[in-house]
């Protein structure tokens, strides 16, 4: 009875809001429909590395795809860098070295207690835009160049598509061989107790095969290097400054949280485990690889996956610096141009909901897997 009552109130509420919204929109001369998808977008999207943008040709729906892809790009870049940095800082936090531990404590406490938006604006406007040199005086970091326009990097491209396919095939076969080899040596280890340095052998032989076959196939993959032109760099990959600042700030902010997860995870391995492994006579490397990491990872991974989702959601703050991801380009510019608030906001929310559902799906799978291996 209560349930029917509540449900009918909720349904009625949603329905009446929908009604008034459609009515209000019509009153303002906006007919809610998805016809605008195929209209040509009258604005420029500057950064679209995966889909070719052409002013006067690209339609709204393609702008939507560009937005999603740009969101995914900065999310992946951020996840990669934040994980690396977070693990280093989290491990330093537990280092016996007093200075290292205190510095990483300060790092964590500063960067996770300052709003991300402030950090993004600080790095972009107050630091990078103000202090990075113009293209002519770029900061050189090997093959990378950093200047006030952004970060320029070498970009791999396929020189000979046939040879490239063969090369990929060879790499896949090598990986498969390595996998079989590790299975075989594990079986042998269980039978005889003779342990081989499987990882080292696998990595070295894979690298050797990759390099050897690369030269044998006369370089199926080329690298397009950035070259300084008259005013700016030409060629190579370019990470424009808004993306670079956003990436930088997201990395630093999220790494502070991941570092805290890593610290808590490692600290959660009980002291008895370490003492037991020492009394079993395990080497330090064995203790780290076989006792600490497997147990710590169970505690570290679930909250870290949530951090990845947070990072993806936080990438929507790109609006502040003008990086063209989905909120900026779709819920911002496209909405202003077409006025189709209902459809556009709904689509934006659906994109994020999908990412969130995907994350919780992965988390559930992971949790089920570690639950089985637990006693």
């Amino acid at each position: 009875m209560v349930q029917i009552f509540v449900l009918s109130i909720v349904v009625f509420g949603i329905f009446s809001i929908y009604e008034t919204t459609v009515f209000n929109l019509q009153e303002r001369g906006i007919k809610t429909s998805s016809n605008f998808f195929d209209e040509v977008a009258p604005f420029k999207v500057g950064f679209s590395p995966f889909l070719n943008f052409e002013l006067g040709k690209t339609t709204y729906i393609e702008v939507f795809y560009i937005g999603i892809l740009n969101t995914l790009l900065v999310a992946l870049l951020g996840i990669f860098a934040a994980t690396m940095l977070g693990f280093v800082i989290g491990i330093l936090r537990l280092s016996p070295n007093w200075i290292a531990s205190k510095i990483s404590l300060i790092y964590i406490e500063i960067f996770r207690n300052v709003p991300l938006l402030l950090q993004i604006m600080f790095w972009n406007f107050a630091v990078f835009l103000a202090f990075l040199p113009p293209p002519k005086k770029s900061i050189e970091m090997g093959l990378f160049y950093l200047n006030s326009r952004g970060l320029h990097s070498p970009l791999p491209f396929i020189e000979d598509s046939n040879n490239f396919k063969i090369w990929i095939l060879i790499l896949a076969l090598a990986a498969l061989a390595g996998f079989i080899f590790s299975k075989w040596s594990k079986k042998k280890f269980e039978l005889t107790g003779a342990a081989l340095p499987v990882k080292t052998i696998n990595i070295l032989s894979f690298l050797a095969i990759a390099v050897f076959s690369y030269f044998f196939l006369r370089g199926p993959l080329g690298f397009d290097l950035p070259v300084l032109g008259k005013f700016n760099f030409k060629g190579g990959g370019q990470i424009p400054l808004p993306l670079f600042s956003l990436w930088f700030a997201l990395t630093i902010y999220t790494s502070a949280f991941i570092a805290e997860n890593v610290r808590a995870g490692i600290a959660s391995v009980s002291k008895g485990q370490l003492e037991a492994s020492r009394s079993l006579g395990l080497k330090r490397s064995q203790m780290i690889n076989m006792i600490i990491i497997p147990q710590a990872m169970r505690v570290i991974i679930p909250p870290t996956i949530s951090q990845f989702l947070n990072l993806t959601k936080n990438s929507s703050l790109a609006v502040a610096v003008g990086y063209e991801e989905i909120v900026a380009v779709w819920a911002g510019i496209s909405l202003n141009q077409t006025g189709q608030a209902l459809i556009i906001i709904a689509m934006t929310i659906i994109v994020y909901e999908c990412m969130s559902l995907f994350t919780s799906f992965i988390l559930n799978v992971y949790n089920r897997r570690i639950q089985i291996t637990e006693r």
Binding site: N97, N113, L118, M121, G332, L335, A341, I345, I349
Partner: protein, 375 residues
């Protein structure tokens, strides 16, 4: 003979070897214990040497604080320009209305001061009548705040919310968010654990919907679409729209924090109160919630920290919160070029609040943790 046997003479303890006590030993063990340790220490000392002295020079020793316009700072470019923060202090903290009407500035000061007076005793464990104080803070204080800061009664002139800004606005948004989200969140958390499938499904949908969407999208929705949801004639100003968006968003997070507390309550509590013949609401209000809320305080404080940082996002929809105020003040003609100082000041205020709250919640967590263990 007998004398030497019967008389026990304590040999004085030998001093511990000088290599294990005192400053020097501490340094040797913690900083130069092993080769890697030594290298790490030297590396970090070098990094500190590179960054700390120039920063201190800039921020403190060479900094400008005297004067009341930019001429002082322009003469001494090597130091920070705290004059800017000093001159614009009222504006940064209380917004434009109170900065332009200095005779009214006692109002926000009284409001914030009262908040401090009520909050401080709550932080100590042994304060009597804690529940009543908390109740006053959550119910009477908001009324008092509106009365004194918004004005409009007893001859206090109205300060339009459109003119609110700075730290005062940040505080108001965050406080409204937590006060309104708390009851909503408790209901949602109860709903999520309800036996009734429809209620449970509705709560889960609601919670996951808001948790999956970034706040910036919700704020866009609140500022663009909220007027559309209601029949024309019903209109909210910008600040209230943001408050609605923040409350809906925050209630989902509060619900999850409270749910954690509910899950930690032993099933025996429910069963015992059922056996005593208590109905659902009596059981929940008198037995379950008091225990669950106590456990979930640290988690609620953590969501509150996140909310406090996230209020800075309202600057994207055009509200002049602390972040936006520092940015626009440092971009004004008068102070153009001193945005690092603006960001640092805003960042420091945010940091101090968040760090304070997080240390408090950590302390509480540790206390609850040990309480659980002794039982």
């Amino acid at each position: 003979m007998t004398e030497t046997l019967s008389k026990f003479q304590k040999i004085p303890d030998r001093e511990p070897p000088s290599s294990t006590v005192g400053m020097l030993a501490w340094v040797r063990i913690n900083l130069f214990g092993t080769t890697t340790n030594t290298i790490t220490t030297l590396l970090f000392l070098y990094v500190i040497y590179l960054f700390l002295p120039p920063f201190l020079d800039w921020a403190i020793f060479n900094a400008n604080i005297s004067g009341s316009d930019r001429s002082v700072c322009d003469e001494n470019k090597s130091g920070a320009c705290w004059t800017f923060v000093k001159v614009r202090f009222e504006q940064l903290l209380f917004g434009l209305y109170f900065a332009t009407n200095p005779d009214q500035i006692w109002r926000p000061i009284t409001a914030l001061f009262t908040f401090g007076i009520i909050l401080t005793p709550l932080l100590f464990e042994k304060t009597p009548f804690k529940k009543w104080l908390l109740l006053i803070l959550l119910t009477a204080y908001p009324v008092f705040f509106i009365f004194i800061v918004y004005g409009g009664a007893f001859g206090i002139p109205v300060s339009d919310t459109g003119q609110w800004g700075g730290f005062l606005l940040t505080f108001a948004l965050a406080f409204v968010g937590i006060v309104l989200a708390l009851p909503l969140g408790i209901l949602l958390a109860l709903g999520r654990r309800s036996q009734m499938p429809v209620i449970r499904a509705l709560s889960v949908t609601y919670i996951e919907f808001w948790r999956g969407t970034p706040l910036i999208t919700i704020l866009f929705m609140a500022s663009v679409m909220l007027p559309l949801f209601f029949p024309s004639g019903v209109d909210f100003d910008k600040v209230v729209r943001a408050m609605i968006g923040i409350t809906l968003f925050q209630s989902a997070y509060t619900a999850e924090a409270v749910r954690g507390g509910l899950q930690a309550i032993d099933k025996g509590q429910t069963e015992a109160s059922m056996a005593l013949g208590l109905g659902y609401w009596k059981r929940t209000i008198f037995i379950i919630l008091p225990q669950a809320l106590k456990i979930s305080i640290p988690a609620i404080v953590n969501t509150f920290i996140a909310l406090f940082k996230d209020t800075s996002l309202v600057s994207i929809i055009g509200l002049l919160d602390l972040l936006k105020m520092s940015q626009s003040a440092s971009r004004s003609l008068e102070w153009n070029g001193y945005d690092i100082e603006g960001y640092l000041f805003a960042g420091f205020v945010f940091w101090a609040c968040c760090y304070g709250m997080s240390s408090y919640s950590q302390k509480l967590e540790r206390k609850l943790d040990t309480e659980g263990r002794t039982e």
